[in-house]
């Protein structure tokens, strides 16, 4: 909610999204309404498959997509519903249109386009805006272990990382990045249990499991994220006590845990938030702020987002939850970014930049005035909020450098006044990815090399995983 508010979105005017699930990566992109139709940015749609570059001459727009093993070109015409991909004519459901340097294609044509771009069949769930490319889907089963009616065990066919929220009578598991589909009976009911049903639904690029419960419920992850166990806290029944020999003063009946929050509505209490190790990745710039021009029409904001998505995918594989501050072309101010990060219980903050100067990776921790006293809770000065976390930030920097070194990626540790680093009240560093020392053949710009981006994401994922224990203890 805090993020929604900070991004200038109210729950009533939720930004439309399209979720794309592919065998390589899962991502969500913003959806725009145009002439009564839903559209997505062409580069947003295909960029995670490789490195997309969109150029134009007049009304003719050319997309070049460089992927790991091959590359392809496609041609679109502003105002026309006919495109040419890999030399073949492709009919779009509605006309391609452009705005500034971006081209938009209809959401309903996304399966046709992905068939050409990814060479895999794709199916679109139009109502929920979820696009499944290839044979990707995660199924689940829900069961109650014998003899424990207060537990509901959810088994998933692949590791999942849902956002968990609670409200009176419900626990909601929202799957923003998983191709979760309904399986078996839906909704599923459970008798003689405080957890009495589970309902699968999907909407706006996400799937949701709504667990109806009449007791405070906690969630625990196990089996590398493949199992989630929901446990309802059953209210203890007052035990009959021997009648005292002398009359005692009347005492109101209490539950076993006097410190537990009072039940809401007389029946259900709000479950506590599940403590998680979450990494916030901030693809710098975006929207109106393109960042640096990296040559050949490449914008820093797009490269930052591509690298950030790879880092998230790598962390996901390591069982570490990661959130992107922007997962599309949104404009965020530096203050909005800092507020959004500080409002969460994230374990660390990583800001991603790219540059065409130098080689390797530059790592930056906040440069604070040496006279600044270490800020202590509960109130932190905005300009020096990072002061109490600098040691951990330096540890993180060192851990990442070790991983870069082991992959023969040149890295330099530096300090910077770059914002919002000094405003972040968590371990925080920024990375600036420069070109590799040797550019692979056939790649115009080293920054677009998928292998290079993946190596950087792997190093960062490993560096964070190595430091996870230290960071968790420090929280």
């Amino acid at each position: 909610m805090a993020l929604l508010f900070l991004l200038g979105l109210s729950p009533g005017a939720e930004e439309k999204k399209l979720a794309v699930y592919t065998p390589q990566t899962d991502y969500t992109i913003p959806v725009t309404d145009h002439d009564g139709q839903e559209y997505v940015s062409l580069t947003d749609l295909v960029d995670p498959l490789g490195q997309a570059t969109l150029t134009h001459k007049g009304d003719r727009w050319k997309l070049r997509l460089v992927m790991r093993s091959n590359s392809l070109e496609a041609e679109f015409n502003d105002g026309s519903s006919t495109a040419k991909i890999r030399g073949k004519k492709v009919q779009l459901s509605h006309a391609f249109w452009t705005d500034g340097q971006r081209g938009y294609v209809p959401v309903t044509s996304a399966p046709v386009l992905m068939l050409q771009f990814a060479r895999q069949s794709a199916s679109l769930r139009e109502n929920s805006r979820r696009l499944f490319v290839g044979d990707v889907s995660t199924t689940y089963s829900a069961e109650m272990p014998k003899g424990s009616s207060d537990k509901l065990v959810l088994h998933f066919s692949a590791a999942v990382n849902p956002t968990i929220s609670t409200e009176p009578g419900h626990v909601r598991l929202t799957f923003n990045n998983e191709p979760l589909i309904a399986s078996g009976v839906n909704p599923q009911s459970f008798e003689n249990s405080p957890i009495h049903s589970s309902t699968f639904s999907e909407n706006n690029g996400a799937a949701e499991l709504n667990i109806a419960t009449t007791a405070p419920t906690q969630a625990a992850f196990s089996d590398g994220g493949r199992t989630i166990t929901l446990t309802a806290s059953l209210p203890q029944v007052a035990q009959p006590v021997p009648k005292p020999a002398t009359p005692a003063p009347a005492v109101p009946a209490t539950t076993a845990n006097p410190t537990a929050p009072a039940p809401l509505g007389g029946q259900v209490a709000q479950a506590p938030a599940v403590p998680r190790f979450v990494v916030i990745i901030d693809p710098a710039h975006g929207g109106d702020d393109p960042g640096a021009a990296l040559g050949g029409g490449l914008l820093e904001k797009d490269v930052n987002l591509a690298i950030a998505r790879r880092i998230r995918a790598d962390l996901d594989q390591r069982g570490i939850a990661a959130i992107l501050l922007r997962d599309g072309d949104a404009t965020l101010t530096l203050d909005q970014r800092a507020i959004a990060v500080n409002a969460t219980h994230a374990a660390l903050y990583l800001c991603v930049h790219a540059t065409s100067f130098g080689t390797g990776v530059h790592l930056y921790s906040a440069r604070l005035n040496p006279d600044v006293k270490i800020a202590t809770r509960p109130f932190l000065p905005w300009d020096t909020a990072q002061s109490g976390y600098l040691d951990l930030s330096h540890n993180l920097e060192a851990s990442l450098m070790t991983e870069f070194e082991s992959r023969q990626i040149h890295s330099i540790p530096l300090q910077s006044g770059l914002r919002p680093l000094r405003n972040i009240a968590k371990p925080a560093i920024a990375i600036e990815v420069a070109e590799p020392e040797s550019v692979p053949e056939g790649v115009e710009n080293g920054l677009t090399s998928i292998a290079y981006q993946q190596a950087i994401a792997n190093a960062i994922g490993a560096g964070i995983a190595n430091l996870r224990g230290t960071l968790e203890v420090s929280r």
């Binding site: 702020d289 640096a292 540059t355 330099i412 530096l414 300090q415 770059l418």
Partner: protein, 193 residues
């Protein structure tokens, strides 16, 4: 038959009209040239006379990400703010040289330097071209700030911090990265060759 005197009068009037047209065209071109010249006007360093002296400058090396300490000769005025401005001007001129290791736009320059707080703080006012023509990136922008701060610090004993403003106004970042809302210490930690 048109009278002869009328023909002569019309011919003279047409000739005068053509001459005035040519003169008007000439004035218009002159005005355009003048406007162009005014747009290109750079702040001119104060005329400096007298013997030159050695100053220390720390110029960035973008390829290696460090600062290189050098001694250059410059004629400097005695008045501290003018002296500081001249030092920054000399530094920027070094960046603008051919084969510079930290190139910057040809029109970039310093407008004023203000010394405050018993000369412990310098406010460096650069022109719009300095920021607008600056290359974007954390490293290149930080190198510019480090070079300015360390160079002024090397030549002004007691100077502790600098702040850069653009065309007399505070700006959020230099070219999208380096924070211009904050002060930069003159002894900030950066590798110096």
């Amino acid at each position: 038959m048109i009278p002869r005197n009328l023909v002569i009068t019309i011919a003279i009037l047409l000739a005068a009209l053509a001459a005035m047209g040519l003169y008007g065209y000439h004035l218009r071109r002159q005005a355009t040239e003048l406007l162009k010249t005014e747009a290109d006007v750079k702040p001119v360093a104060p005329p400096v006379s007298g013997p030159s002296e050695q100053i220390t400058i720390l110029t960035p090396d973008d390829d290696h990400g460090d600062l290189v300490r050098r001694q250059v000769a410059a004629a400097l005025p005695a008045e501290p703010t003018l002296r500081a401005r001249e030092i920054v001007h000399v530094l920027i001129t070094q960046w603008q040289e051919k084969n510079s290791t930290h190139p910057i736009g040809a029109n970039a320059d310093v407008k004023e330097v203000f010394l405050l707080d018993d000369n412990k703080t310098a406010i460096v006012d650069v022109n719009g071209a300095f920021a607008e023509q600056h290359r974007s990136g954390i490293m290149v922008e930080e190198l510019t700030m480090a070079s300015l701060a360390r160079t002024l610090g090397a030549n002004f004993r007691g100077l502790q911090q600098i702040k850069v403003i653009v065309d007399g106004r505070e700006r959020e970042t230099l070219a999208g990265h380096a924070d211009l809302t904050d002060f930069y210490n003159t002894n900030l930690d950066w590798n110096v060759e």
